[in-house]
């Protein structure tokens, strides 16, 4: 078998050296009635060609985002990723390296993590960032736990503009850790008054901006109100490109910023692997979950990098760790940092402006259709439309016409009649006039 270098002659020679006659002599600790005598009931070994063929059959059954007019967002966005990014992350030295626990032979990984952490801190407007979480949703749940630890208070207030699946992840983790959650109802019209829910028992307020429905929120008044009672503000951002156009959460007073980094460097991949960005103030760094890369020197006094502050982490602190996280999103961080280096300040600002422009153009087109209303007056690259009838049906019909038009809110928030006619629509730099026209035409037909 092509992945196994040992020959039968090797195996015999090695067994002899060990002093046993057969391989099962090395499995002697497995209870004999549990050691399998037969192969498991699965197909036998296959050559590359056969595996390739079998998997292509599965791949070809799916509608590829890049092959149709595509407007699906909801926490994962289709952007153009420069060819350089995927090429570089496939270098052996990056792809097949381990966690950089031996810094002398991991400076490639470590320096790129240090650069990544700096970029994330700059983008979020915060003082320090970690070397990633699994994704935005688990990062948000960890941020809530961190706020509980820092304030020693029991309640987290969660905005109705938070992605429903993120809310579910927080509800799940908080439920098991015994903390209270106040989750405001889904807020497509951005009418909630979250400030009135903050009190002396609040550990944190969590707000997503741009919100799940697309709304932009000025975090400053919320930050002020939270700080006045000693609570923290956790800001969640699911579209990293928005940092290129909007005031950073840090500037607006956030204490912890969690973001989904997928938009930069990482393709859609049907939901994973993604990369969670996590940033906070310097004074909170010892309560931060996840790995941290720090600068130091070597024995010659040369600048170098190493994982640090590991006393927060599971392998040192065990049950007192700030989180149980071990493996994070290493290669996805590298993809992020390479793409962000290629973009730079000028490129990111331009990319963000393009995204916003394309969303504005699409919104104008869709709003002009009879029966369709854009209900989000202020947005970045995602907004919500109200349609006459079942949004879920309309999305299926659009798909049948070859247009992937967005996410029916009812898919993520079932059983709520007031949300059944809403669709969340995303627009990025990958859409052109022909795509937007195709969407408008298809929607008009479906509604007629």
């Amino acid at each position: 078998m092509r992945y196994l270098p040992l020959t039968d002659a090797d195996r015999q020679s090695m067994l002899a050296k060990i002093g046993v006659s057969k391989i099962d002599d090395l499995f002697v600790d497995v209870p004999s009635d549990k050691l399998l005598n037969e192969l498991v009931d699965l197909p036998l070994t296959s050559g590359e060609m056969e595996v390739d063929r079998a998997l292509r059959v599965l791949a070809e059954k799916n509608v590829v985002a890049g092959s149709v007019p595509f407007f699906v967002g909801g926490g994962a966005y289709r952007h153009h990723i420069p060819a350089t990014v995927d090429h570089l992350i496939q270098r052996s030295e990056f792809l097949t390296a381990y966690t950089p626990y031996q810094p002398e032979i991991s400076q490639g990984t470590l320096q790129s993590l240090f650069e990544f952490q700096t970029q994330v801190a700059l983008l979020t407007g915060m003082e320090v960032a970690n070397a990633s979480m699994y994704d935005g949703s688990t990062g948000a749940a960890e941020a809530v736990l961190m706020a509980h630890r820092l304030t020693k208070r029991n309640k987290a207030v969660i905005s109705g503009g938070l992605h429903p699946q993120y809310r579910a992840v927080i509800e799940n983790l908080s439920g098991y850790s015994g903390h209270d959650l106040e989750c405001l109802p889904g807020d497509p019209y951005s009418r909630e008054d979250i400030i009135s829910r903050i009190d002396g028992d609040t550990a944190c307020v969590l707000v997503q901006t741009p919100g799940f429905y697309g709304h932009l929120t000025d975090l400053e008044p919320i930050a002020e109100a939270a700080h006045a009672t000693g609570a923290l503000l956790v800001a969640v951002v699911t579209e990293t490109v928005s940092f290129g156009a909007l005031k950073s959460p840090g500037e607006m007073g956030a204490d912890i910023v969690v973001a989904e980094g997928q938009s930069i460097g990482n393709g859609l991949n049907f939901g994973g692997p993604y990369v969670g960005l996590f940033a906070t103030r310097q004074k909170y760094v010892r309560q931060m979950p996840g790995r941290l890369c720090g600068e130091t020197v070597d024995a010659d006094g040369k600048r170098c990098f190493a994982l640090t502050l590991s006393t927060r982490e599971q392998h040192i602190r065990r049950e007192k760790a700030t989180s149980n996280i071990c493996t994070n999103s290493g290669l996805c961080c590298l993809a992020f940092t390479i793409h962000m280096s290629l973009l730079g300040e000028a490129g990111l600002r331009k990319l963000a402006k393009l995204n916003h422009r394309n969303a504005v153009r699409l919104a104008e087109k869709l709003d002009a259709i009879d029966g369709v209303d854009v209900i989000t007056p202020h947005f970045f690259n995602e907004f919500t439309i109200r349609v006459p009838g079942s949004a879920a049906d309309i999305i299926e019909k659009l798909a049948a016409k070859g247009v992937l038009g967005g996410i029916p809110v009812s898919r993520l928030e079932p059983g709520q009649p007031n949300l059944e006619n809403l669709i969340v629509v995303a627009a990025t730099e990958v859409n052109n006039d022909a795509d937007r026209d195709a969407y408008a035409d298809a929607l008009t037909e479906v509604l007629s």
């Binding site: 992945y3 799916n62 049907f270 010659d300 040192i316």
Partner: protein, 525 residues
């Protein structure tokens, strides 16, 4: 038991003045500054159309100050990262004998398949009717995992091993709650990986530590003593972190179940028994599987991984969202919300909730399934046998000069040594590891598990040829002899030949610098 973990004390600086160069470069080893020292804000390696003027809808929340990001052109970007890459060790370069990490070869077919547009360029929330092949792939991988483990259900969504541990423990907690019970204690062997107690504590359990007996395994009698109606579960790694199969695992499982508790199995070492034994036959209630260990998905410098969790009948109803069901016509759909889940019976009917947004690590699913289909039932069994053979070969070839911690019988896929053989030499486990680096090897796992002093856990994996192992063994023997012969300089000054010398990790922690900041002179301008 060693409670200190690894020492991080700095050592005396050593001078390296042989043939200095103007650039500081040494042949192919090129010194590479930080991105922030070479990039410029006005440069970009991406060409984008001009947005033009238009009326924006940003409601006064526009960014009004620079982010401070540097940019690089495409050629500068290539050079920066290629130069950085040359400072990394990798599996593609040589053996990576990290015990517990299973650094086997990462097949490139995995990468090719994961990049097929039909897998890579699909959105988790596009209509399910447009992605039947993706759903089928996840279900197919789930089937392979269930057959290999002999378990009836599997949660595919956890994003890494530790996340899988969280999922399994949440399911146990949910199951107890459904029985109307509130148990507060989890039993964890002291040899366990740190994620085990960290996970249990994260959801509010108290940890009770179970000592290892002299042969490195867990004593069922000790487990029995510690069981009570307040114990929710035991978290047992099998094969364990000493590289040994827990031969009384069935007895332990029976005792745990008798006491009304559950058996969480940490499957990090599953690579030793794939195709040889089924955790489901051993009494396991749930077990996470590290796709990035056992099933060859690449480690990528620290991730991404994937940690699907297999479940027993008892825990099946509590599987998290999302999970896949088969419709009457044979098609499949993903159950995504608790509203949908409560309409089901059997698997997931009392779903514990959601572990993550979207569906899980699809990119890793494609890679793992590619590997599994390539090996097949016979290949996977052979791989496990070769992994165990290689580890025992290393153990037997080193145990005269180095001190194997448990040498009464065979080990599984990894061999544990301690620092007894270094006593009186002035060389520590850490020094020994750094000297291995000079020889062109990534060190083995150090100072883990905590149950022996100065632990060295060696896992060669099945990807090593006999020739590669023979050279590794010869090198380790030479190092062991060197330590005994008092050649301290070879060790205390190591590594001598790497892009950077021994790194001062104490200083990194004492005065943490976690990001680049512009130097004072620049900031003042």
């Amino acid at each position: 038991m060693n409670r200190e973990g690894r020492p991080t004390a700095p050592i005396m600086p050593v001078e390296h003045n042989d043939h200095p160069t103007f650039t500081g470069n040494r042949g192919l080893q090129i010194e590479e500054p930080l991105l922030f020292e070479i990039g410029r804000p006005e440069v970009s390696g991406v060409d984008l159309e001009e947005p033009g003027e238009f009326a924006g809808h940003l409601d006064g929340l526009e960014r009004d100050r620079d982010i401070g990001l540097p940019g690089l052109s495409e050629p500068e970007t290539m050079r920066h990262y290629v130069r950085l890459s040359q400072k990394n060790y990798a599996i593609d370069m040589g053996i990576y004998p990290l015990g517990s990490c299973t650094m086997k070869h990462n097949p490139r077919l995995n990468e090719k398949m994961a990049r097929l547009p039909g897998f890579g360029d699909i959105h988790p929330l596009q209509p399910q009717s447009t992605v039947p092949g993706a759903i089928e792939l996840i279900d197919k991988l789930a089937h392979w995992l269930k057959v290999l483990t002999g378990m009836p259900a599997v949660a595919m969504s956890p994003k890494a091993g530790a996340h899988g541990e969280l999922c399994g423990m949440m399911a146990i907690s949910a199951a107890l709650k459904a029985r109307g019970e509130n148990r507060t204690i989890v039993l964890v062997p002291e040899s366990a990986h740190g994620t085990n107690p960290a996970t249990a504590a994260a959801i509010g359990y108290k940890i009770r530590s179970i000592p290892a007996r002299d042969d490195g395994t867990v004593d069922p009698a000790v487990v029995q003593e510690n069981l009570s109606s307040d114990v929710a579960a035991i978290m047992l790694t099998n094969p364990n972190t000493c590289g040994l199969f827990e031969r009384e695992v069935v007895e332990i499982a029976e005792a745990v179940h008798e006491a009304g508790a559950y058996f969480y199995c940490d499957g990090a070492n599953f690579t030793a028994i794939v195709g040889k034994a089924k955790p489901g036959d051993l009494g396991v209630d749930c077990m996470h599987i590290n796709l990035h260990k056992t099933f060859s998905t690449p480690h990528g410098g620290g991730g991404p991984g994937a940690g699907p969790v297999v479940f027993s009948e008892a825990l099946m109803p509590f599987v998290p969202l999302p999970y896949i069901v088969t419709n009457d016509d044979g098609s499949r759909r993903i159950i995504e919300t608790s509203t949908q889940a409560t309409n089901q019976s059997g698997e997931g009917s009392q779903s514990l909730g959601r572990m993550t947004a979207f569906h899980g690590q699809m990119g890793m699913f494609v890679r793992a399934l590619t590997y599994m289909m390539s090996h097949g039932a016979d290949g996977m069994r052979q791989a496990s046998e070769d992994a165990v053979l290689n580890a025992n070969y290393v153990r037997v070839c080193l145990n005269d000069l180095m001190s194997a911690a448990f040498d009464e019988g065979p080990c599984m896929h990894e061999a544990l040594f301690d620092d007894t053989f270094l006593k009186g030499t002035g060389v520590t486990t850490l020094d020994f590891a750094k000297a291995m680096i000079d020889e062109g090897y990534h060190p083995m796992t150090m100072y883990f598990p905590l149950v022996v002093h100065g632990a060295m856990l060696i896992e060669p994996t099945e990807s090593e040829s006999k020739a590669s192992l023979d050279l590794f063994i010869a090198t380790m023997r030479d190092l062991a002899m060197g330590a005994r012969n008092g050649d301290v300089e070879r060790f205390s000054g190591a590594p001598h030949h790497t892009p950077v010398k021994r790194v001062d990790e104490t200083r990194a922690a004492r005065s943490p610098v976690l990001r680049w900041t512009p130097p004072l002179s620049e900031a003042a301008e």
